[in-house]
Subunit: 212 residues, 4 copies
DNA sequence: AATGAATGAGGGTTCATTCAT
DNA sequence: CATGAATGAACCCTCATTCAT
């Protein structure tokens, strides 16, 4: 139970309440699944009243959509900081950072991943979910393709297809997340991270070492 | 809508009806998502009456479980035929066959994959789903690890970890399926297949060629 | 489970099948209550197929009605044999026999009483049930009133109202049955019988002794 | 149909709504029988919407149980006021009051008795019903036995068994209620009351007169 | 005469949404 | 803004009844 709400129930800026509800939704989806997430559960988790969700979001659908968007936006922001930011200059450093980022605590947070795969599981029959998930992956794919292209260029490798490598990396990370999320005993997070590193180390040996 | 059933009520062996209902369930999950799949929709899809599903399965839950089991069993059987059958003798042939199998029309059937990922998306909050999905992956992992170990042994490679390679392959295939399923325009099935091949060709160059 | 039915399911005279189904219905009502008695349960108890009940009785309602009638008829027949038969000549003997009959094993059979009170509980809202139950009690009341009147006449008692005594006796027996049926630990059958005897012994001291 | 409720939805304290629903349930059971009582009927009778019953009671079962409890509690309270209260001091007065109470308008209310016998009719197959009904009768039996014992002591009667007399009285009243409820033409309420009085007047002649 | 798979109306229950307070 | 009792459509499930065999 996470009752951040003050007892007095004083009016709060719209954005604060929305964020509070989105966080509660994330927890609910992780705990009860997407289909098991009800408005009552979400608002109780937020320590607020039943009607509040429909006040700030128009409907359950909108709340879910904004929750998904929130999760993908956060990931996208973190990824963009690495791929486009000034902190990392060399190609190697960026790739290394990407790898670390994709298996950092903030990213492999069970709650957020549960949201991601919860929506992905329904995406095929829900064009709106599909659009949000796809946009996220499209964005990532472009940037990662460019990054890997740089690495291949630096290595003088003219054979390997950067786009294929990028698509493979994204899919691999998705698959590792999913497998570790569903059964962490079979695929511990550590092993997931090593598998991802192994993938890049094999494909881009000059930039990434198997290490760790 | 697949109304093979005649208007006149005709008794059928239990197994025939169950199979008919499972097939209808698969289609429904693909079309409406797991949460959008109702008994009414399933039985209408099967061209039968509402009550029939509870007659042959005890509850919706049981119907869904048997549907998931049916999909995983079919995959497991096909995979076992390759990994344990006598048709393929050499390690290379087996790996090649596995790759082809994983991207064969029967496996990358959108309906079946929608079922698989629909359940996976809810697996974390549903122990029963989790168990079925995990058992499937555990089984596959053991066999594939053994296969890859043979390949590495044959190649004299004592560095690469077969278990890591197998976990990576399974995750990669999962990720590719998921990405192609959700947005086939971004990741066409052909590209998925190539990405998987590329993964194995890089890791086991003596056994698999980039090809195609 | 009472499978009197022969394995070969040979056709049986209509009356045999009907009786078989009525007996199964009695057991079902005793076991599951009137509202918990389903056609499937009844036919399974009889060791027959689901459709058979609607073949021999027109509907569930008819089956239930005939079951109630069967129970009341059996009681009425036994009672009539005492009150109208030639076996007992003296008033005393008849009253004594009535008392013994009302608490004899055949009458205080839990199954039959469960049927009786199951229907009585619904009688107010079901005119058909009400009619059958009332006819039974009316019949009994007339005969018992006459019997008690003879006793009072023989005793020279001109004060006590035979009709009131009879109505009281019938109600008392109903009440004792009901209380012993619902909670035999609180009111054991033996005690019930003694209470009924006590009632008659007090009202008709010349004919019935407290005894036992 | 009792639509005290206004058309405009107006929130009410939980207890008010529960009581409203219990009263509606009592009417429904009286009108349609226990098995004919549906949630839709009850809520319509209360002039409320279908979902309300499951909002205040968790299930139909709970609603029924609380309804039965309400009816037995009301009876128990009235009876306790006589048997334990200070209003009546002499044994005679208490017995007289008990008799009048048991056939007072509030007690022989057709709706409440229909509930009582509706549940009793199913009690044998429903342990929960059985428990509530039995507790009620056990309580009454103890108190009435004590009261009758006092009367017998006062009369110097050392022969009659007070417990038997009490059990008989309870059963007789039950039986009279049931017979009058099911067929008031055959056994008018007035006659029922006289029969009960006759029972006590015969057994406890020093305390109760045949009267009326 | 007998079977039991199939039907579908009707039941209890859930839950997104509304709105008087 | 915030509340939560109230609503009612839609869900899953049961079961009396039907009918091809």
């Amino acid at each position: 139970m996470t009752k951040t709400a003050n007892k007095t129930r004083r009016a709060q800026p719209k954005e604060v309440r929305k964020e509070q509800l989105i966080q509660a939704t994330i927890k609910c989806i992780a705990k009860h699944g997407l289909s098991g997430t009800t408005m009552a559960l979400v608002t109780r988790e937020a320590g607020l009243s039943m009607g509040i969700a429909n006040l700030h979001f128009e409907s359950k659908e909108k709340l879910l959509l904004e929750t998904l968007q929130s999760v993908t936006d956060e990931y996208a922001a973190g990824q963009a900081a690495i791929l486009e930011g000034e902190k990392f200059q060399s190609t190697s450093a960026r790739i290394e950072a990407l790898l670390n980022f994709d298996f950092s605590a903030r990213v492999i947070d069970k709650n957020k991943l549960a949201v991601w795969f919860g929506f992905l599981g329904e995406a095929r029959s829900r064009p709106t979910y599909q659009r949000i998930c796809s946009r996220q992956d499209s964005l990532a794919e472009e940037k990662i393709t460019a990054l890997f292209q740089s690495a291949l260029d630096e290595a003088g490798d003219k054979v390997v297809d950067a786009a294929l490598l990028a698509a493979g990396y994204i899919a691999l990370v998705d698959g590792l997340w999913l497998n570790s999320l569903v059964d962490p005993r079979r695929l511990p997070w550590k092993k997931s991270a090593r598998a991802a590193r192994h993938y890049l180390a094999t494909a881009l040996p000059k930039h990434i070492k198997p290490g760790k």
